[in-house]
C-alpha cells in the first residue's frame, strides 16, 4: 500500500507551491498597501521575477530530465 504515501506527497507538493506563492506575495502587497503605493518597487518586482524564474527553471529541468534516457 505505497500509493497513499505517493498521493500525500504529490498533494503536498501542489499545496506547498500555492502556499509559497502566497508567502512571497503577501508581504509585498501589504507593504504596498501600507505605503499607499500603486506600483511595485524594482526590488519587489525582482523578488517576484526571481521566484517565477526559479519555478520555470525547475519545470524545464524536470521535463529535460525525463526526456534524457
Amino acid at each position: 500500500m505505497a500509493t497513499p504515501i505517493v498521493i500525500a506527497a504529490d498533494v503536498l507538493d501542489a499545496l506547498v507551491s500555492a502556499a509559497q506563492a502566497i508567502q512571497t506575495l503577501s508581504p509585498i502587497l501589504k507593504q504596498m498597501q501600507a505605503e499607499g503605493r500603486t506600483q511595485l518597487t524594482s526590488a519587489e518586482w525582482d523578488t517576484i521575477t526571481q521566484d517565477e524564474a526559479g519555478a520555470a527553471q525547475a519545470l524545464l529541468a524536470a521535463v529535460q530530465a525525463k526526456r534524457t534516457p
Binding site: 500525500a8 503536498l12 504596498m32 518586482w45 519555478a55 520555470a56 519545470l59 524536470a62
Partner: protein, 194 residues
Amino acid sequence: MGSTWANHGTKILGFVVAVIGAMGDVQQLFAAYDSNPKHIALYTLVAALGGAIVKRGFTNTQNQPPAEPPSLPDKEKGFIDREVLVALAVFMLCLVGCSLLANQPLDAKIGTAKETVASVERAAAAAVNAGTLNVATGQEIYTDSQSVVKYLDAAHAAIVAGNNSEGAAQYQLANGLLSSLQTYLNAHLPQGQK
C-alpha cells in the same frame, strides 16, 4: 524506505509551516483589502479543504506497514486523477485569489498573476518529477506559462513607463492566456497521463 519517510516528513513539516504562515498572511491581506465576509469564508473553506486532504494522507498511511515503491500500473490507475484534480484545484484557487484582489492597483494584480504562474510551474515540476504528469504536458505548461510571463513583464514595464493603458492592455492579454492555460489543463490533463 527510510529516505522515503524522511522525505515525506520533511514535506509535511514544510507544508505545515507554509500553511500556518500563509493563513496569517492571507487573513491580514484580506483584512486590509477586502472586508467581504464571503471572501474570508471562502479562504477559510480553502484552508479546511487543505487540512482535510493532508489529514486523509495521514489517515491512509497510519497503521500500515512500510510499503514497497508503487508499481507503474498502480500509479497510472491509483492516484493520477486525484493528483490532477488537486493540481487543477490549486490552479483555480489561485485564479480565484486573483479575482478577489480586484480592488488592488494594476501593478499588484500583475505581480499576483506572475506568482500564480510560478505556483502552476512548481506544481507541474513536482508532478513531472513524480511521474504523474507526462513530459509533453509539462512542456506545454512551460511554454504557455512563459508566454503569460512575457505579457506580464510588458505590462509592468508599461506601468513603470507611465503608460497605464498599455499596461492594462498587456495584462488583459496575459489573463486571456492564463484562461487558455486553464482550459488546456481541464481538457487535456486527464487524457494526457497515459
